[in-house]
Amino acid sequence: MNFEIPAFLPAVPEMFVLGMACLILVLDAFLPDSRRDITYGLVQATLLGAAGLTFWLAGPETQITFHGTFVADPMSDVLKLATYVVTFFVFLYSRPYLMERDIYKGEFYVLGLFGVLGMMIMISAHNFLTLYLGLELLALVSYALVAFWRDSPRASEAAMKYFVLGALASGLLLYGLSMIYGMTGSLDIATVAAALTAAEEGMNVPLVFGLVFVVVAVAFKLGAVPFHMWVPDVYDGAPTAVTLFIATAPKIAGFALLMRLLVEGLGPLHGDWQGMLVVLAVLSLTVGNVIAIAQTSLKRMLAYSTIAHVGFLFMGILAGTDTGYASAMFYIIVYALTAAGGFGMIILLSGRGFEADQLEDFKGLARRNPWFAFLMLLLLFSMAGVPPTVGFFAKLAVIQAAIGAGYVWLGVYAVIFSIIGAFYYLRVVKLMFFDEPVVERAPADRGGVFATAISINGLAVLALGIFPGLLLTLTHYAISG
């Protein structure tokens, strides 16, 4: 029997991140608290290095290695690059928040880096087991991060909820995958797809049975209604820096999960999962947008808004066309970038012993700091989908994909609920610009780096809205090659 040495090159970014994460973990143990910046700097450098490697290895061809368990294709390149960029912003925004709460520990960044690794594995998975491996790595990191601030009872409660429901979802996913394995005899994504294409009509029932569990698990992980209950509690309970982490880049990985599982693996069952996604999309749009109106906490409001955004994401996927997938990908990248800015703004306004996560805390921000208020305005209008911000083009893309697939009514439904959504985003704009400040404190000085980063983040939302062509072309390239 021959042992074939797999090609390692396509997985070099993953190996680099893993190596660096282990190295930093060891190094950090020897660093005194005062030198924690070294850990932070190394982690950011790792992300930049990984970005460089991914960019260097990127190519239009699809490479499958490690005996069919790992794939590097244009989609994985683009998604990984987006993940690095978003995570870079996340780590940068987190730093002052952690410092002020005396939890500026190396663990946060090392765990975060392992989370990034998990996402990368999900993005590049070509086997259901690899996919599950990446998902669990990310999930375990997320549970730990939510519980990271030991002195906060709310964070511990959130972590408990997150863990129990997340474990349940993982169980459902494994169960569903085992059904599909039973019917097709393989866990390899390409083999499963081929087996399903060749399958006869009669095989459908047990397959769909498995599919239901898979879809439910994915909906759990992404926070789609009716599997969304954990989202507001976890977002609200977790320290803002952690909310920032779990609300942004993992959604990009979640998109990869959808693509690898449903589209590439179970694509032949498109007719079956399309209907399920329609239901999930409609419910998510409704519940997310309507309940967000009633929130007084900005973090909870953004949590419900995330749920609504997942509804839009599903609209692109369920179209079942390359345009649809590219639109959904565009949507999720834009979402991650905008959400990073939004939560970053909460951190910007917070201070020692002051969370700034209530809507009231944003009152009169335009008086206190007009520039940050303007950036937040851009981010909010982007979430609401008002041009000239990029959020508009994201919504345009997915709605166009859904209408192209014949779901005109879903398009109409989505725009009606985006109007309802516009209301609560407008309310925050109203608080910032039309109301008198309640909190007299000016935003704490976060230093030039933070201000520059959030300015870039906010202006990117505008710049991508004025020139959306580049990112759109990139996502189309990622899907269609």
Binding site: P370, V386, G404, L426
Partner: protein, 507 residues
């Protein structure tokens, strides 16, 4: 040749960039902001004059076209161009913005830099919307201008400004998203977002009717038509003077422009079927809203309702074309109705702007918009009274003022269609006279109402300038509308010829 320059891009981006420059330079220096803002507005106005005079009359072709790929994935282009319909509206926009910036002098006390910047940015967006020939580009400008207006009403508005501005935003947003669906649908049918391609896209009747209704939702809210007009009185009353002026003079015209650019040429068959709906709603606006205006006690509200009634005339003029054809079998009178609607839009742009400026002048002095707080203003402010009476007369459609021309043309067109329709439309002359003259009587004439009125000072030079410019245009358009009609005629004839062709696909 000027025609080779990207003159439309200049018109769009000069005020937008100038607005941000004003913001940066004049944040803490109101005087700098005002001077810089005025310079930018004047420069834009001069460029638009250049456009007006080099604009080629007698052709319906799009002129000064610019065409650059923008979003390759959706086949969207940065495509600009003007024809006889958009040209007058662009000039109206640039002129009004200059006046709004001048009016801000002394009248706006807080955050002057932001105020001026918001209007400059809004101006650029509105010009962009009037010259966009790509549906996505149009939509982006159409929506984007809501943001500065939202802030203008919300920051500098009256006591109930938050309610008014959120209502304004959501109403307009609600209308426009349906339009977006229609645009996407047509993109999927035709493979491009070019508005001119949409004009030639054959569509079956059901699709046409749905698309027509989607456009109707967007433009009827904007113009606004009964029964979706309720945001307008609220927004007008709460908006600062400049906001009211821009709203009345230009934003309402966007609805009318939309009908001519989208609804009529893209869905002529549906428009021919549903014209009765539009005409009925227009007549309700003319008669019922006219009566509502009569009982208002707030000056701004009265003028707001008067605007709705006058815009009812515009939509009547646009859609009467189909009824003329049905009742007489030929399209000859149709051009007059559409041209009348266009003249009415431009004229209303001047008159309503003037009326809101006039209310602003009074409000700056007494901080009240209540009719009951005034009386006998003529005794202390003779110049103001003279202008006010002139604009009031124009509002009632007195011959010799611009208000007469458009209304007369529309009524004349209505006569071709149906006598009783023309009769109902003509009641506007009586109703407008009733509410406007009664307003004049209560505010301007009579004994001096109270001590505050006795202390009023007449117009200063700045206010005199604004009023004078507007009075000049109101009279000019009233006695000599030919230059305006010359610019529009070819385009309107072309439009009528276009809507006379059925777009139903051949079976």
């Amino acid at each position: 040749m000027f025609t080779d320059w990207p003159i439309l891009s200049l018109l769009i981006w000069l005020p937008i960039l100038g607005g941000f420059l004003t913001l940066a330079a004049g944040r803490d220096a109101p005087a700098v902001a005002l001077r810089l803002g005025l310079a930018v507005a004047l420069a834009t106005f001069v460029v638009s004059l250049l456009l007006w005079f080099t604009f080629e009359r007698g052709t319906a072709e799009m002129q000064f076209q610019e065409f650059t790929p923008w979003i390759a994935a959706f086949n969207v282009h940065y495509h600009l161009g003007v024809d006889g319909i958009s040209m007058p509206l662009i000039l109206l926009t640039t002129l009004t913005t200059v006046l709004v910036v001048i009016a801000a002098w002394g009248s706006v006390k807080e955050q002057v830099g932001y105020y001026v910047a918001a209007f400059l940015v809004m101006q650029g967006l509105m010009i962009g919307m009037f010259s966009a020939l790509d549906a996505v580009l149009f939509y982006v400008f159409f929506e984007a201008m809501l943001i500065p207006m939202f802030l203008v009403i919300g920051i500098w508005g009256g006591p109930r400004r938050v309610y008014a501005t959120i209502k304004f935003f959501l109403y307009t947003f609600l209308g426009s998203v349906f339009m977006l669906i229609a645009l996407i649908y047509m993109y999927l049918q035709s493979g491009s977002f070019a508005i001119l391609d949409f004009h030639h896209l054959p569509l079956p009747m059901t699709a046409q009717i749905l698309i027509f209704l989607a456009f109707f939702a967007a433009f009827a809210v904007k113009i606004p038509m009964f029964p979706v007009h309720t945001w307008l009185p609220d927004a007008h009353v709460e908006a600062p003077t400049g906001g009211s002026v821009i709203l009345a003079a230009i934003m309402l015209k966007i609805g009318g422009y939309g009908f001519l650019r989208f609804s009529l040429p893209i869905t002529p068959d549906a428009a021919a079927v549903l014209d009765v709906l539009v005409i009925t709603l227009s007549l309700i606006a003319v008669v019922y809203i006219g009566l509502v205006a009569l009982v208002q006690s707030d000056m701004k509200k009265l003028i707001a309702y008067s605007s709705i009634a006058h815009m009812g005339f515009v939509t009547l003029g646009f859609f009467i074309a189909f009824m003329i054809f049905r009742n007489t079998g030929d399209w000859s009178g149709a051009s007059m109705g559409i041209a009348g609607g266009m003249v009415q839009m431009i004229s209303h742009g001047f008159i309503s702007a003037a009326m809101f400026f006039a209310v602003g002048v009074l409000y700056d002095r007494l901080h009240s918009r209540n009719i009951a707080d005034y009386g006998g203003v003529v005794n202390t402010m003779p110049w103001f009274a003279a202008f006010f009476v002139l604009f009031a007369m124009a509002n009632t459609g007195l011959p010799g003022t611009s208000g007469f021309v458009g209304e007369f043309m529309v009524i004349l067109a209505a006569f071709r269609a149906d006598f009783w329709l023309a009769f109902l439309a003509a009641t506007t002359l009586i109703l407008a006279a009733a509410y406007t003259l009664w307003l004049v009587k209560r505010v301007i004439f009579g004994e001096i109402g109270n001590d505050n009125v006795a202390k009023l000072k007449d117009l200063d030079r700045r206010e005199f300038l604004i009023m004078g410019v507007l009075a000049f245009f109101v009279l000019l358009l009233g006695v000599w509308p030919a230059p305006l009609l010359d610019v529009m005629n070819a385009t309107i004839d072309h439009l009528v010829a276009h809507i006379a062709q059925s777009k139903l696909p051949a079976l």
